[in-house]
């Protein structure tokens, strides 16, 4: 079949401008597709990673703005199967400019091992130093931070700033950008309010998570601060719910872009094949079978589609690499990363665009009466 490769190549270069423009239009649309489809993958991965977690999260039923009393902590610790409990306060500070925001939370230093699966470094220093903090790698890269550096966060919710020393990093956290510092430092700076926005609870078996969640909620039922407890996956899913509609919209827009360019590619292929009707008829008259003609025409379109797909994927992958440093500016649940399966999916879509855009006009041309195509009726 390699002997037909030259034929395919020559036809692709027949109208270089049209071929290049078609490839570029497919590339642009598939770049958009790859980007938009990649956006939700991080959130989906985060949920998948937490499905077998032995952690659960308790919050007040009234919402984030309302904290729970610190006194809940020892009471939760007495519930069967509970191994550890850590209070967590959402501080929400700003680093330098208002645009330099990332989630910052304070937790109990002695319970930091609860998140040992997040790839924490500098844990010992964190336990020793009151102003210590651990910073996620995304934040470290974005602001060019380094371990040992002192930083100041300006309070937005609370009327005080915190001055922290980076003692370690979070390499595999649930989101690429956030910061953890010590709750005792927060309590001191805030005037010992004795609060926690969440209690993170570790149990001895993931199977008992629903049972323990129910027990916690039961214990604080009818109190002034009732809790709503859920597995880590469910709790994160709840937060992601607000993002997910945008994620779905992104996926939908990606598909719209693909359908639109599919129609454009189909029109281009139809025009290209229509212009070559008599040539196709000549080829058939000298013995090329219909399926051979169909294969040649579809191969051309497939090459155009895959070239566009490869360029679109390459640009998406390259740009994401370059701009990944500022990824956390888009929010904690968005990662600028094109996963390999999205690359494969995009190339698959490119192949489908190539195949389907040419198939109908190519089949019609391959089946059309030779005499009619050559207008050889006298």
């Amino acid at each position: 079949m390699t002997k037909f490769a030259l034929l395919v190549f020559k036809n692709l270069t027949r109208s270089k401008r049209r071929t290049i423009l078609t490839i570029l239009s497919i590339a642009v649309s598939l770049f958009i597709f790859a980007v938009l489809v990649s956006l939700p993958t991080f959130a989906n991965q985060m949920l998948a990673d937490t499905t077998s977690s032995v952690r659960l999260i308790s919050r007040t039923k009234m919402g984030f703005a309302y904290p729970l009393p610190e006194a809940y902590k020892p009471r939760i610790a007495t519930i069967p199967h509970v191994v550890a409990v850590a209070g967590l306060v959402i501080y929400g500070g700003i680093y330098h400019e208002a645009s330099d925001q990332f989630p910052s939370v304070a937790t109990d230093a002695d319970q930091i091992d609860m998140w040992s699966d997040w790839g924490l470094t500098g844990v010992d220093e964190f336990k020793k130093m009151k102003t210590a903090c651990l910073v996620a790698q995304g934040t470290m890269r974005r602001f060019h931070l380094h371990v040992g550096q002192q930083i100041q966060l300006r309070g937005t919710v609370y009327p005080f700033n915190v001055t922290l020393t980076i003692v370690g990093t979070i390499d595999k956290g649930p989101v690429p950008s956030f910061l953890i510092f010590r709750r005792d430092y927060f309590e001191e700076a805030a005037g010992k309010p004795g609060i926690a926005h969440e209690f993170w609870v570790r149990v001895d078996d993931s199977k008992v998570v629903p049972e323990v969640a129910a027990a916690i909620d039961h214990q604080f039922a009818n109190s002034t601060a009732e809790t709503r407890s859920a597995s880590e996956a469910a709790a994160i899913g709840n937060i992601l719910g607000r993002y997910r509609i945008f994620m779905r919209l992104a996926e939908f827009l990606g598909l719209v872009a693909v359908v639109a360019i599919g129609l454009v590619a189909a029109n281009t292929a139809a025009m290209s094949i229509r212009e070559r009707r008599s040539e196709i008829a000549v080829m058939r008259s000298i013995g090329f079978p219909s399926w051979g003609i169909l294969s040649l025409l579809v191969s051309e379109s497939l090459i155009v589609g895959l070239s566009g797909g490869a360029i679109g994927c390459g640009v998406a992958f390259g740009l994401f690499k370059v701009f990944a440093l500022n990824a956390d500016a888009l929010g904690p649940f968005v990662s600028l990363h094109v996963p390999p399966y999205v690359l494969a999916e995009t190339l698959g879509v490119a192949a489908l665009i190539g195949l389907f855009s040419a198939y109908v006009p190519a089949r019609a041309a391959a089946k059309r009466s030779i005499v009619e195509a050559l207008r050889l009726v006298d």
């Binding site: 036809n11 000298i286 013995g287 079978p289 006298d378």
Partner: protein, 250 residues
Amino acid sequence: MTKPQNNDGSSAVQLTHVTRTYKRDEFEVRALDDVTLDIPRKSFVAIMGPSGSGKTTLLNLVAGIDHATSGRVAVGGEEISAMNEREIAAWRARHIGLVFQFYNLIPVLTAFENVELPLLLTNLNRAQRKTHVEAALKAVGLADRMGHYPRQLSGGQEQRVAIARAIATDPTILVADEPTGDLDAKSAEEILSLLTELNRQFGKTIVMVTHDPRSERFVDTVYRLDKGIFIGAEQGGRTARPTHATETAA
């Protein structure tokens, strides 16, 4: 009128009671009406007649690119009217060389690549294909134009390349539709001389549709059609007749 022959191997083409009708809107056009004729092997014949007489339709049937509405078409002893599309495509590749009025070369391919096109359907390897192409282009006097694209050639040269493409696979029959129709007088003479040479030197059966009265002196036999009816065959004006031509026309 020529009588159909028995299939004794002396006929290149046999048409027996062939009718071809077309539908044009609500009208039925009878392009060929009960045509029966034989064309002997290794002969060079012209099919002539006024516009709309059915000569190109007849040529299309012989070339296997159209099918008869009724009747039998046998070429080289094979009844092509009974073949399906796949079979007839393969048959065309083996047995038919087609030459068109407007050359119909592929513009993005060089002369060499155009001539190589039908050879891609064979099992010949690259070197063998090259040998065939070079031989074909040499036979039409264009050995020095192999790398030229159609746009870089004159009309006469383009038609020569088309003839080289038609003979590259060494087909049984060469079918030419108005091969001189788009050429000036000098180029037309050259093409007719070339076809005569191919017939004489290589023994190719050549069936040519033409309006050009000059063609008559180059061919063995002229078959005349009018309004789809075969009205008779007459001897062409070729002076030095090939010894291998078998005359069957009346």
